[in-house]
């Protein structure tokens, strides 16, 4: 069949158009072969952000070792200085294995091979963006008595922010009032702030609330767990992203350095959350560190996690969540997890410099 009116007209014009289309197809193939994304979605590729300071950092370390400098000046390092009663304790007497300190247990290897070892580029944690989930007309999960996820996440994030600020971190929040934000706006905010970490706080809901009461922390990655897929779908609902956007985002994300870092941050946070909550309710399940394609984790250019800090579907836990002290406990555990993660970076840097 001929396309009739849809065709581009005969002669040179059509040939030129065909040539342009063909060139576009070839360019698309070349980009796929070179693993380069089409379009301009990434204003600054995440990997670039790590490689540039990483390579510079390595060069500086090599120069420092050659010149027999013992330590960088304090201003060159992010030194974590506890300033509150809830603040961190002093550093460990030895430098333990990264995963050991982060999780207390050996982590399973990543499902996909990683191209770079994150310890090659130890980057300090200075600026943290906290993201209280949901907000405004998007209430998130909700108990029959009106306790909403959007209010809980905001409260916990505010408590966490105070602790982090007191400890010397630069902290901002995607929202500090009850306002609806698209996921896209949350991500943009974190990227504009050039944050070092992004922590999204959520409260879970299980269909069988009584039987399933647990804490889980996610980092970006694929998931074949139907529950996780359903959860990611629910959390991604108010995204503001088109399907094409998501396709582009997922294309190049799963195997980069940021995934490793996110996983380690998730492991540290999960361990502290479970430890803290089990002190008051032993039946809480450790649902573990898990990967899932939550959209807030996809386009953020820094290590990012989504912590499901409690489950509102459990009547027991809903009751606890109504208590200030319990929410403070959760905020404290999140703080401890973030602190543990950041301390390791700090110590790795210190160790590399001393050597």
């Amino acid at each position: 069949m001929s396309a009739g009116a849809g065709s581009a007209g005969r002669g040179g014009g059509e040939e030129r158009l065909k040539r342009r289309l063909l060139a576009g197809a070839v360019d698309d193939n070349v980009r796929a072969i070179e693993n380069r994304p089409r379009g301009r979605l990434y204003k600054r590729p995440p990997i670039t952000r790590w490689i540039v300071p990483g390579v510079l950092g390595l060069a500086a370390l090599a120069l420092g070792a050659w010149a027999l400098f013992v330590r960088p000046k304090p201003a060159e390092r992010v030194v974590f200085t506890p300033t509150t009663a809830n603040g961190p304790t002093s550093g460990s007497p030895r430098l333990p294995d990264f995963d050991e300190i982060a999780t207390g247990a050996e982590l399973a290897p990543l499902a996909l091979s990683t191209r770079l070892d994150s310890q090659v580029f130890p980057v300090a944690v200075r600026r943290i963006v906290l993201d209280p989930g949901h907000g405004g007309s998007d209430e998130g999960t909700k108990t029959p008595y009106g306790l909403t996820e959007k209010i809980l996440t905001l409260d916990i994030a505010q408590r966490l922010a105070l602790r982090l600020l007191a400890a010397g971190f630069d902290v901002t929040m995607t929202r500090d009032t009850d306002v609806k934000l698209y996921l896209r706006d949350r991500v943009r905010y974190a990227n504009q702030k050039e944050a070092d970490l992004f922590v999204s706080i959520h409260v879970n809901w299980f269909k069988d609330g009584r039987a399933n009461r647990g804490i889980e922390t996610y980092y970006l990655g694929p998931s074949d767990d139907p529950f996780v897929t359903a959860l990611a779908s629910a959390e991604n609902r108010e995204s503001g992203y088109s399907r094409a956007d998501v396709r582009k985002l997922l294309d190049s994300i799963y195997s980069d350095l940021r995934q490793q870092e996110s996983r380690r941050l998730a492991a540290a946070v999960q361990r502290h959350l479970v430890g803290a909550v089990r002190e008051v309710s032993r039946e809480v399940r450790d649902r573990g560190v898990r990967s899932a394609p939550f959209l807030v984790l996809v386009e953020t250019e820094m290590p990012a996690i989504l912590a499901e800090v409690a489950s509102l579907s459990s009547p027991d836990e809903a009751r606890l969540l109504g208590d200030d002290a319990y929410r403070e406990r959760i905020a404290g555990a999140l703080f401890d997890g973030i602190r543990a993660y950041s301390m390791i970076h700090d110590e790795v840097r210190g160790k590399e410099t001393v050597r």
Partner: protein, 340 residues
Amino acid sequence: MSAKEKVLSVGIDLGTSQSAIATSNGAKHVVDSYVGWPIDMVARKVVKKSVLIGAEAIENRSLLDLHRPLEQGLIKEGSEKDIAAVKEILGYLIGMATNEDKERKVRAVVGVPAETLRVNKQQLRQVMKGMVEGLIIVSEPFAVAYGIEALLHTLIIDIGAGTTDFCVMKGHYPTEEDQRTLTKAGDSVDDLLAKLIAERHPGIQFSQHMVRGWKEEHGYIGESKNRVLVTAPAHGKAQQIDITEEVRLACESLVAPFSETMLDLLAAVEPEYQEKVRQNVILSGRGSRIRGLSAALEKILADLGGGKVTVVDDPVFAGASGGLAIALDADEADWEKLSA
């Protein structure tokens, strides 16, 4: 003989249900995308082959480890057997194409769903290494558009088994914004049809292949003067059942998502060209043969000021022929050279 003439150019539509090839020597072949390996020595003796492909594999499926290696138009992830099956299908098609002139080098343009992830394209590259000398991968609806020279101000809707691909041709190679892939396609219609039949006729036994056959023979949208009567066993006894309403409902399940996607893409076209695009909506793929589909979509377009929906002359080979057209137009430097 010029360098270009020494090369056999082919266009391949690698489909979930059927795969087709069109070649520069004028041959066209289509094969059901099924591959089966005999399950044991006895089966091997019966079928007398180490691997069966296409209709032959389906017919002997009880004796075979049968694979339909493509899912939603892509190689299923994580299964070496499925990758091997895709190799068999491609090898079979290319083998048929080169039978007359085995000395010729083969260069292939392969159509894949519009929103195929890069990782799937890389997988396809790996599979095709050693089979062809040169490769270009394009989106399936782009191949269709190129083949019928619908290069500007057209909307292609390519309805396959696993996916339906939408693509607006705007005079440049389509970007993600110009394309959509839906999983509402032939398979989803089959699944719904099977569910509806099972609900209405609980005692009837039928297979996925029977359902697909019924849909392909009787699929329609809107009004139908004829009843759809098919025969299927119930407790071992052949029985005629009326599935007129079920077929209609299953086929009509495509209309709403198609309309939504069509309108979404039309809205993204520059205002002065929207009318032209509405007048040039083109259906391809085996799903385009569902009676009444083009009329149903025209009805949707009528609310926007009118539009025309046409079906390509050869829905089965439109993608492969388009791939061949691209292959014939491609310059030497355009090809990705694949070594074994």
